[in-house]
């Protein structure tokens, strides 16, 4: 390139600007791409703290709001669902049964992903779900977990680290239990 870099060639400062802009653009697109390819929060990722206001009639230790950091030391099963999601219905009763089975030793949470409240309530009532459930306001939690769809369930260990991600509905109660037993002492 240098052989022709005489008086008339592109001034150096313009060349620098061009290359910097180009590099910036490429880095931008590349980082977008790499973020997109990350997909859901992976096994081994620590879960950042979040809070969720529960639906009326649901509570956790007397409060209408949960704070994720309060759960440390316990296994947390965080399930994303929606009333319009057909596959979610397949696993709804199993999750409730699992919740009843562990009776407080394992925290079960339901985050209702983009939904309308009346339908969500009908859904919860239909499957007699009693574990804490709340709307994912502003899709903040689901975006934090980068969920790929519903249903999707995150198993978080006592240290607040994701140790299993289930995409799609559970087939049986045993499937849920097996995953929990891996980490339950």
């Amino acid at each position: 390139m240098s052989e022709l870099n005489q008086k008339k060639s592109v001034p150096l400062w313009i060349q620098i600007i061009v290359w910097v802009c180009l590099a910036g653009l490429l880095v931008l697109v590349a980082s977008i791409l790499s973020k997109r390819q990350q997909g859901a929060l992976k096994t081994g990722d620590a879960v950042p703290d979040f809070s969720m206001t529960l639906f009326n009639g649901y509570e956790f230790e007397g409060k209408n709001e949960i704070q994720f950091s309060d759960f440390s030391g316990k296994i947390v099963v965080l399930n994303f669902w929606a009333s319009w999601c057909k596959p979610c219905e397949q696993e709804a009763s199993e999750l409730q049964e699992a919740y009843a089975f562990y009776n407080g030793d394992v925290i079960f949470l339901g985050a209702d992903y983009v939904d309308t409240e009346p339908e969500a309530r009908t859904y919860l009532k239909k499957f007699q779900i009693t574990y804490p459930n709340g709307p994912d306001m502003g899709t903040k939690i689901s975006q934090m977990f980068r969920i790929t769809g519903v249903p999707e369930t995150y198993f978080i260990d006592q240290q607040g680290v994701v140790y299993y991600v289930k995409v799609g509905p559970f087939i049986s109660l045993d499937e849920i239990k097996n995953i929990i037993e891996q980490k339950l002492k």
Binding site: M1, S31, L33, M144
Partner: protein
């Protein structure tokens, strides 16, 4: 057996392509004509090879070989044969093979031409297209293999090209998933290949541009050789876009044809730079100016073609059109970056050689107006590019998604499109080199007056909307001014050549195909603008639930619900629910329309097909939204009145006429250069 054969042929074609690229490069280095000839032959071989591989895939598709993953994903037993063939480009892997096949055929057409004094371009054209083709073949062979199969490995179904374990057996599903019903529409069958044709043909002018940069030939040979390629590329791309719009209008059921969806924009962006290129190339040919700019445009067009393909195929964008998440993203990214960086580096290296031979003298000269037109196209590109990228940037930086939708694009592009219309009207009247306000005004005042009168009368009889009136003024100005230009030219010829007016007109047009084809395209654009203006500013809609015998009113129309029937057609795998409505306009019975909902069992997907009544004035567009299945007494309809939208489709037909006229092989023009350009075109046929 077929599967291994198809795959094997594909691998061979990759090797052949790599060989041709490398040999061409070595041929230049060692100044060896025989090496270059060998590269050329290898290049020519890639086309039949990829054709054989594609035919194998089509054979598998038509004969329901569901053990092949791709066949399983895009076909099903109930699909008719022609759809099974077109399913070739219905999925990611197949459409990439289709892309490669097109590229191989185009490159072969180019290498077959008589090179004569352009022989120095040949090896570099081969290198550039071989790199592109090899990249696509590489992606197909290693990541998006249309020949990979299902295998049964200890009870689990695994996807693999070859036997994954020694005990594995081939697994054949009983039926395929079937092509996405939205893609079974005739418009959708032609729309993707049109777009691909457009995309791929732009690779050829790009290859020549790069060849010109490398060899340092700074005259306009490369643009002259690729002129028709560019026109055809532009034709296919434009028509692909229009067909996509028509498909959306007929099938997607939202009363519109263009939703500023990121994937639509991804195809629109190369069109913008391509259009700018088409215009500015003329300045290079006529005035020896804007050489650097033309290089920038063709490089951008190529980069945007690949970038658009990357955006839609890597899972970076998700939309109705996008293919599912795929591992090819990073490779595409790498390829776009590498080619773009290399092109820019070459351009900067050769920048001094590409200086203009003449300087611009006047702001109203035709070349200045062309440059202005180019800047507007690039402005639209900036708006579009940022609109597509910003949601991704936001997600990256803040972690939250946002939508950049139609209001943004419409607000930003409407003044730019208006400015384009204005330029379209005045540019033909400005002279090369130098023009003044006086000369322009002298030539244009009749058209301006006519448009003004028309606009004022529209104010009284049609609409008082200021935007609409501005739009109509510009549109009529384009049409009047362009017609005046035809008239002026024919009149002048009539006098000098002593012909009658019509033969003068036809001779004039045939002797300047590109120019007058371009004018026809300008008129078509104005006609399309009428449709866009109508639907953007005057669209009316209403929705309501009515019982049988009741009506909905919209504008001057009354739509009365007669009856509804629902039935299965097992052979198609579809349930049809069809409503019958009577349409009245100001109390006069016009006829019946049949909006319907198709439910596809295999894909578990519905399609809302509107009942449409099109006239030059407006479209009545009725959608069946919902119905009460038990009592069968009430149904919900959504009705749109889309004024003037038909002009969009009329305009696109005129457009087709114009561009075919412009691109038509012509032996009369440019007697000196006719040899090479005519031969090149006959190769194109």
């Amino acid at each position: 057996m077929f599967v291994e054969f198809g795959y094997g042929v594909l691998v061979v074609s990759l090797i052949v392509t790599l060989y041709s690229g490398i040999t061409a490069f070595l041929g230049v280095r060692k100044k060896s004509t025989s090496l270059i000839e060998s590269a050329r032959r290898a290049q020519l071989l890639s086309f039949p090879l990829i054709s054989i591989s594609s035919l194998t895939l089509i054979f598998l598709l038509v004969n329901n070989h569901f053990e092949v993953t791709f066949v399983y994903e895009v076909t099903s037993l109930s699909m008719p044969t022609y759809l099974k063939i077109t399913a070739w480009w219905g999925g990611q892997a197949g459409s990439m093979l289709f892309w490669s096949w097109l590229l191989a055929s185009f490159t072969s057409l180019v290498t077959l031409r008589k090179w004569d004094r352009d022989i120095e371009f040949l090896p570099w054209v081969i290198v550039v297209s071989a790199i592109t083709l090899a990249f696509f073949l590489f992606m197909i062979i290693f990541f998006e293999n249309p020949f990979s199969r299902y295998w049964l490995v200890s009870g689990n179904v695994v996807e693999s090209m070859f036997k994954p374990t020694t005990t594995a057996t081939i697994f054949t599903p009983e039926n395929g998933r079937g092509l996405n019903p939205l893609l079974r529409h005739p418009g959708m069958i032609i729309h993707p290949p049109m777009l691909y044709l457009g995309f791929v043909s732009f690779v050829i002018p790009y290859a020549f541009a790069i060849a010109a940069l490398i060899t340092g030939r700074t005259d306009d040979r490369w643009t002259r050789i690729t002129r028709r390629w560019t026109l055809w590329a532009w034709l296919f791309l434009s028509f692909g876009l229009v067909l996509g719009g028509r498909w959306a209008y007929d099938v997607l059921g939202w009363g519109g044809y263009w939703g500023w969806d990121p994937v639509e924009i991804a195809a629109f962006m190369p069109w913008l730079t391509g259009t700018a290129f088409l215009h500015s190339v003329m300045i290079q040919e006529k005035r020896g100016m804007l050489k650097q700019w033309n290089m920038v445009l063709i490089i951008l067009t190529y980069a945007l073609v690949i970038f658009g393909t990357f955006l839609t195929r890597s899972g970076v964008l998700s939309s109705v059109h996008a293919f599912a998440n795929s591992p090819i993203g990073p490779y595409f990214m790498g390829f776009v970056s590498a080619t773009f960086i290399a092109s820019i580096a070459l351009l900067i290296w050769r920048w001094p050689l590409l200086r203009s031979e003449t300087e611009m003298k006047s702001i109203l000269s035709r070349e200045a107006l062309f440059l202005l037109n180019n800047l507007i196209f690039i402005s639209i590109l900036v708006v579009c590019f940022w609109g597509v990228i910003y949601p991704l940037v936001s997600e990256l930086v803040t972690g939250f998604k946002v939508t950049v939708g139609p209001p943004y694009y419409e607000r930003a592009t409407a003044p730019l499109f208006s400015a384009l219309l204005f330029l379209m009207a005045i540019a033909p009247f400005s002279a090369w080199g130098h023009s003044t306000m006086q000369t322009l005004g002298k030539a244009l005042w009749k058209s301006i007056l006519a448009s003004f009168v028309l606009t004022v009368s529209l104010f009284f009889v049609y609409s008082t909307n200021l935007y609409a009136l501005t739009g109509f003024f510009l549109i009529s100005l384009v049409i009047f001014a362009t017609l005046q230009e035809f008239y002026r030219g024919a009149l002048a010829r009539q006098k000098t050549k002593n012909e009658n007016f019509f033969s003068a007109l036809s001779n004039l047009m045939r002797r300047n195909r590109r120019r007058y084809g371009g004018y026809i395209i300008h008129i078509s654009m104005a006609l399309m603008a009428i449709g866009i203006l109508g639907i953007e500013l005057f669209q009316q809609e209403t929705q309501g639930t009515v019982a049988q015998g009741e009506s909905l009113n919209i504008g001057e129309y009354r739509v009365e619900y007669r009856e509804l029937a629902s039935w299965d057609v097992r052979s198609d795998g579809v349930n049809y629910t069809r409503a019958v409505v009577d349409v009245y306009e100001n109390g006069i019975y016009l006829g019946q329309l049949y909006p319907r909902i198709d439910y596809f069992f295999d894909a578990e997907q519905t399609m809302t097909i509107p009942g449409q009544r099109s006239t030059f004035r407006d479209d009545l567009y009725i959608l069946l939204v919902d119905w009460k299945s038990v009592s069968n007494s009430g149904a919900t309809f959504k009705i749109y009145v889309n004024p003037l939208v038909n002009w969009l489709w009329i305009g696109s037909l005129v457009f087709l006429v114009g561009i075919i006229f412009a691109a038509w092989p012509d032996k009369e023009m440019e007697p000196v250069r006719v040899k090479s350009s005519a031969k090149q075109t006959s190769a194109a046929d």
